[in-house]
Symmetry: C2
Subunit: 216 residues, 2 copies
DNA sequence: CCTACCGATCGGTAGG
DNA sequence: CCTACCGATCGGTAGG
């Protein structure tokens, strides 16, 4: 799968503390910038001047632009896991599904990244741009899709969701509505889009729920 | 509204036929390239060499990159109107809504633009990039949203759609599913995404239809 | 529609 | 982590 992927953080533990701190500061800024203007518009020169560093000084931390982009993706992933996936990991079934969605909207609306959901932006930007960055984003989006799918399937096995429902189809619909909310909040400067999408998702979940379990 | 917009095709009718033909050829290529890699990656140099023209020769047709991008948006709009909106203009209500969706999926799946729906890509790319290009894309996307909304409201007035339904909400859901299909077909190289989204849209339309009209 | 050019910026390197 | 540099490409201009 990731057979060509070199270690993303080479010998991080053995680096001097100063280097690690700088690296963290770089990636924090990189992720914020990329969420606003895209991973490709994230040029080494602009990032360096935003951090008051020399281009080559910053460059030395990564060795290539692609490596910088990949590192930014990993940094964003950690934030996503922290804010969206982990809080829901103790639950299961429909309660987990609802919490995943709730946390996703909080994460997107509270602008954990200043430009909205990092992965919505990145996966759209790289959907047709071959390379390691695309491969990794694709893998992460697939995992998110599979997590939703598996959660729905679990709920089905527990009798919370009607048997005729296709978990893949519903997972697709949830992802579609969430991404569209992110996009509309940016294009139309319409924060209400998040509420509209969340409402649509919750009522879709109600639809697939079995009668006896329809309330929690 | 478009008070700052200069005329997009200045004195087109008085230009010599050769100039018009060249311009058309440029825009056709520009739109195709932009659908694949984005309106910003559409550089004058690359477009010129793809057309075996000099940079400055191509440049003379537009005067600025922004004008080239705006012209590409208009060219794409004409294709969209031709393929999606016009075919449905004779119908009304739910039949029109279904035909609009059907035509949209045909347009996206048959790759009227080689990279998929031009406007899905462009509106995502420019959702946070101020300027004339963004303003125009925003206007066109808003019109498309309003067309869907108005069609649903018409259907409601004709008794085809239940009174409790919010046309805005449903229009949002349709647009979300369509865009997500375009995105997934690119990221996952999964043409089946179109069918999944179309299915979701059609069953959503069935849900909002009143009992007596539920079949056509 | 062309050649020839401009300053700015890109990703990246040499050498310290 | 720096200065100083590389070739390539960007949008755009001069002049024909």
């Amino acid at each position: 799968m990731a057979s060509l992927a070199r270690d993303v953080r080479p010998a991080a533990q053995s680096q001097r503390p100063r280097g690690i701190k700088t690296r963290r500061a770089i990636l924090s800024r990189a992720v914020a910038l990329a969420s606003l203007e895209g991973l490709e518009a994230l040029t080494i020169g602009r990032l360096a001047s935003a951090l008051r560093m020399s281009k080559s000084g910053l460059f030395a931390h990564f060795g290539s632009k692609e490596e910088l982009q990949c590192s930014a993706v990993e940094a964003a992933r950690e934030i996503f896991v922290e804010k969206v996936i982990r809080p829901a990991s103790a639950l299961s079934g429909l309660r987990r599904l609802r919490l995943l969605c709730k946390r996703w909207f909080e994460y997107a609306e509270a602008r954990a990244f200043p430009g909205g959901c990092f992965f919505s932006a990145a996966s759209l930007e790289f959907d047709d741009r071959p390379g390691r960055v695309r491969d990794r984003i694709l893998e992460l989006m697939q995992r998110w899709q599979l997590l939703l799918e598996r959660t729905i399937r679990e709920a089905q096995a527990a009798g919370e969701v009607a048997r005729g429902i296709d978990p893949r189809q519903v997972a697709f619909e949830i992802q579609a509505l969430a991404m569209a909310a992110n996009w509309r909040s940016r294009l139309f400067k319409d924060r209400g889009a998040f509420a509209t999408a969340h409402r649509a998702i919750l009522s879709r979940i109600e639809q697939i729920a079995t009668r006896e379990r329809r309330r929690r």
